[in-house]
Amino acid sequence: MQEYYLAKWLSGELSEEELREFENSQAYASYKKLKDASSSLMAPEFNPDVALQRLKEEHINDVPKVITLNPFRKFLRIAAVIAVLLAGSYFYVNTLNEKIGTAYAEHSEVMLPDNSKIFLNADSQISFDKKNWDNKRNVDLKGEAFFKVAKGKKFTVSTDFGTVAVLGTQFNVENRKGFFEVTCYEGLVSVNYNNKESKLPAGTSFLVINGEIVDNGMPNGSIPSWMNNESSFESIPLKYVFAELERQFNIKVSSKNIDTNLLFTGSFNNTDLNMALKSISTPSKTNFNVEGDNVLFYAGNTPK
C-alpha cells in the first residue's frame, strides 16, 4: 500500500488492486463510516452577501485605497532621498577645503585661522583645510600670492611646481604657466623643487622659467611690488610680462613680430593701463595699439 493511502483513498486515487486490498482490511468499515459521516458535516452559516455588505459599510468606505495613498508614499520616498542627499552633501561640503580665488584685475586679502595673512594677486586661487588648520598649515596655491605667516608650526605652500615650507616669515610665491618664483622678504624659506630643497634667506628669490632655474637679482623693498600696485620684472621674458599685464588689467594682449623671449627689466603700474603700456613699450622698443580690451604690441613700423 502506498504512502498516505488513506488520503489517496479519499480522493479516489488508489489503484483497483490497492482499493481491493484496503476494502478487505479490518479497518475499512470504520473508515467508510468516517467518510460518510464526515460528508454530512456542515460549517456554521456564512452569508457572503451580508459579509460583503458589512465590509463595504464598515471598512471600505473609510479606507483609502493604496492608489490614493501612493502620492504620499511617493512624497515620502522623494523626501527621504532629498534628506539623504542633503545630509550627504552637508558632510561632503564640510570636508571640502576652504577655497578663495581672484579674477583678472582683482586682488584679495585672506586671513587664515592662525592670523597668517595671504594677499592674492590677480587670477590666483588658494585652498586650505580650515578644520585641520592647527595640525597642518598647508595652502594650495595657483597663481601668485604674498604670505605673511604667523609664527608657529611649519607652514607649507603647495604648488604644481614644488612646495614652499617656512616657519614664520613673509614671502611671495608666484606660479604661473611655465613660471615659478618664490621671494623671501623675512625669515627663512625652504623651497622644494623637483625634490631638491633650496633655502632662501630674506632678500633672495628662487626663480624657475620653463623648468630651468634662473639666477636673478635681489628683490627690492620688503614686500612684493604688486602689493603696491606695481608689477616689476628683472630679466623676465616678455611673454610673462604680457601675461601679467593681462591679469592685472583683464585685457587680451597679443604681439606681432616680437620675440617674446627677450628679457625685460622694468615695471608697470597696475592701475593705469596707458602708463603701464608705455612702461613696457618704451624699454622694449615696441609700439602698441589698443582696441577695446585688446592690446597689440608690435615692433618697429609694423602696420596694424
Binding site: 504512502e3 498516505y4 493511502y5 488513506l6 488520503a7 489517496k8 479519499l10 480522493s11 479497518a27 470504520s30 473508515y31 463510516k33 468516517l34 460518510d36 459521516a37 464526515s38 460528508s39 454530512s40 458535516l41 456542515m42 460549517a43 456554521p44 456564512f46 457572503p48 452577501d49 459579509a51 460583503l52 458589512r54 465590509l55 464598515e58 471598512h59 471600505i60 479606507v63 483609502p64 485605497k65 493604496v66 492608489i67 495613498l69 501612493n70
Partner: protein, 166 residues
C-alpha cells in the same frame, strides 16, 4: 486591465472566496466570531492593496492574510460543527437504538475532530465539507500537496483510532 480595485471584480472575488476563508479560519480555531473578523480583515487588506494584487493572486492573498492574522495569537477553541440530519439515506424505519447509536457516533466524531492537531483538522474539513482538492488546500496553507496528503492520512488514522477507541 482588470484590477481588483474595480468594484465588480472585487465583489466577485469576495463572493467566490469569502466562504472558504471563513471556514478555513473556523476549522483552525473553532471561533465563529474570529472567522467572521478574519474575512473582513483579509478583504480590507486586499482592497487596500488592490493595485498590487492581481485577480489571480487575490485568492492566495486573502488566505495568507487570514491565516497570518491569528497565527500564535488566539488559542484554538472547540470546533462545533453541525451535522446534516442523518448519516444514512433511508431513514424511514430507524429504530431508537439506531438513532441512539448514530447520535453517539456524531458525538465521538466531534470529539475526535477536536482532538486533532489544527492543521490536520483544517485539511480534513476543507476536503470533507468544502470539497477542496488537496492541491487547493496546499495552496491555501502554503505547503506542498504531499504535506496535505500526509495531514489527511494522519487525520483519518487518528480519527478512526479515537472513534474506535483503539
Amino acid at each position: 486591465m482588470s484590477n481588483v480595485c474595480e468594484d465588480h471584480i472585487f465583489s466577485e472575488v469576495f463572493k467566490t472566496h469569502s466562504k472558504t476563508v471563513f471556514n478555513f479560519i473556523f476549522y483552525k480555531f473553532g471561533n465563529e466570531e474570529k472567522a467572521h473578523d478574519a474575512v473582513q480583515e483579509a478583504f480590507v487588506k486586499l482592497w487596500q492593496n488592490c493595485a498590487k494584487v492581481s485577480p489571480e493572486k487575490a485568492k492566495s492573498y486573502v488566505y495568507t492574510v487570514a491565516n497570518n492574522l491569528y497565527l500564535n495569537v488566539i488559542k484554538a477553541e472547540k470546533v462545533r460543527l453541525k451535522h446534516a440530519s442523518s448519516l444514512s439515506n433511508d431513514r424511514t424505519n430507524e429504530s431508537p437504538e439506531f438513532l441512539m447509536e448514530e447520535k453517539e457516533y456524531k458525538q465521538k466524531l466531534d470529539n475526535a475532530l477536536n482532538a486533532l492537531p489544527e492543521n490536520q483538522r483544517t485539511t480534513f474539513l476543507l476536503n470533507r465539507i468544502d470539497g477542496k482538492k488537496y492541491a487547493e488546500i496546499a495552496e491555501m496553507e502554503g505547503v506542498s500537496i504531499k504535506a496535505i496528503e500526509k495531514r489527511m492520512h494522519l487525520a483519518l488514522k487518528s480519527l478512526r483510532e479515537h472513534i474506535d477507541g483503539i
